[in-house]
Symmetry: none
Subunit: 236 residues, 2 copies
């Protein structure tokens, strides 16, 4: 189905893949429905190659994985997708040409196509509904592939280069002294309004309140805001 | 879009999830297009609940993750999907009600919806084409969720022995409704004392204050304590 080819192309682009090979597509090629679901991955659609049969499509490949939903009595190693993509990544990094093969949605891969694979990839799914849409199966494989590219990138180019966005997103914590300023102000205000009622209870109550503010990991700006809140609520 | 809702439902069923909540669906509900792409996950479509706004949809939830493609200047922890689903699994195993929130495909989540989340989830994608289709984003999250269910099934005994301390250390969160109660009370109190001074500033100031309280991960008991603090400071 064109829609599935387009969805597969989009997932490939999202996860850094580009070489799409089609074997005897049911509705011919090109297929406008593929472009409809490919989003901005139109270059993958345009560059896709069409092959008469599976051996022709795999001719230049060194390592081939076959995806299947069914258990088969084939003498092939079976790997879960995480492990499979890890091995694929290792091989591709060495310059081996690797392929992941998907069958038609309803029927899956023929046994004679499976026989061309080095291993079978399975995706763990619920036993209640084990049939993945082919576009969604491509998403999972491509995502697992990219998680290796991504992780490798982070270690190769050093964390300081690879993770600036993640670091920026973590709020810059105020100093303990600034936090202490807010806590002191709040404690005084609560003393003032006789919040504790029974003095013996203050210790544990105050410890609990303090803990929530420490846990919030407040920035300098947020400390200032909260000091304003406490002051305003007291009407002072 | 109905097609995306259907694709999300299908991915949920494939990976053992079932509780689908929709907020003000653009084309109304029920939507036949959702059933068209849901495959055999029609029970999820039939059981989906429709909510007027995000706070209503999240009312009974203890822990909420927000997905976003964009980096935002929000003071929320940012986690990659693998780590995020690991934490979600730990919390859900303890009986906490957990949610993953997805925004409309084009615009994503509004900042005020993001402010209701405990953390932001990112999916590592290629910089060349970083925009995931929403159905595909659901596939990745649901797949990572299920990888924990799946692994846990294989090692139930080891986990229950090895992790009790780690599990105890995660605070038991209040529901979103309880948190909303505290936030509503605080907002009214701040309105009351004319805290914002300039009305245009309220939006961003209030969002920042709210974010610190969401981030603190308050328990039911702590919510009650803070409600007492706000009330006492107002001298009421």
């Amino acid at each position: 189905m064109g829609e599935n080819i387009g969805a597969a192309a989009r997932a490939m682009a999202n996860f850094g893949l580009s070489d799409l090979r089609l074997v005897a597509p049911r509705d011919g090629w090109p297929n406008p429905k593929a472009s409809d679901t490919a989003g901005k991955a139109l270059n993958i659609i345009d560059d896709a190659t069409v092959h008469e049969d599976v051996p022709a499509a795999l001719a230049d490949c060194n390592f081939v994985l076959a995806t299947t939903a069914r258990e088969r009595a084939m003498s092939l190693p079976v790997m879960e997708v995480r492990e499979a993509m890890s091995q694929l990544y290792t091989r591709a990094s060495r310059g081996e040409k690797c392929a992941v093969m998907f069958g038609p949605e309803r029927t899956g891969l023929e046994n004679e196509d499976m026989a061309l694979a080095d291993a079978v990839v399975t995706i763990p799914v619920s036993t209640e509904y084990a049939s993945l849409n082919i576009g969604q199966a491509v998403v999972v494989c491509a995502y697992e592939w990219f998680s290796h590219v991504h992780t490798a990138g982070a270690t190769t180019f050093a964390r300081s280069v690879a993770q600036p966005n993640a670091l920026q997103a973590v709020p810059e914590l105020a100093t303990r002294e600034q936090l202490q300023g807010l806590l002191g102000q709040l404690e005084l205000a609560l003393d003032d309004v006789n919040f504790w009622r029974v003095p013996e209870k203050k210790d544990i109550m105050w410890r609990n309140i303090r803990a929530t503010l420490v846990r919030a990991g407040l920035s300098e700006q947020e400390i200032a805001t909260w000091r304003g809140v406490v002051k305003a609520l007291r009407g002072k």
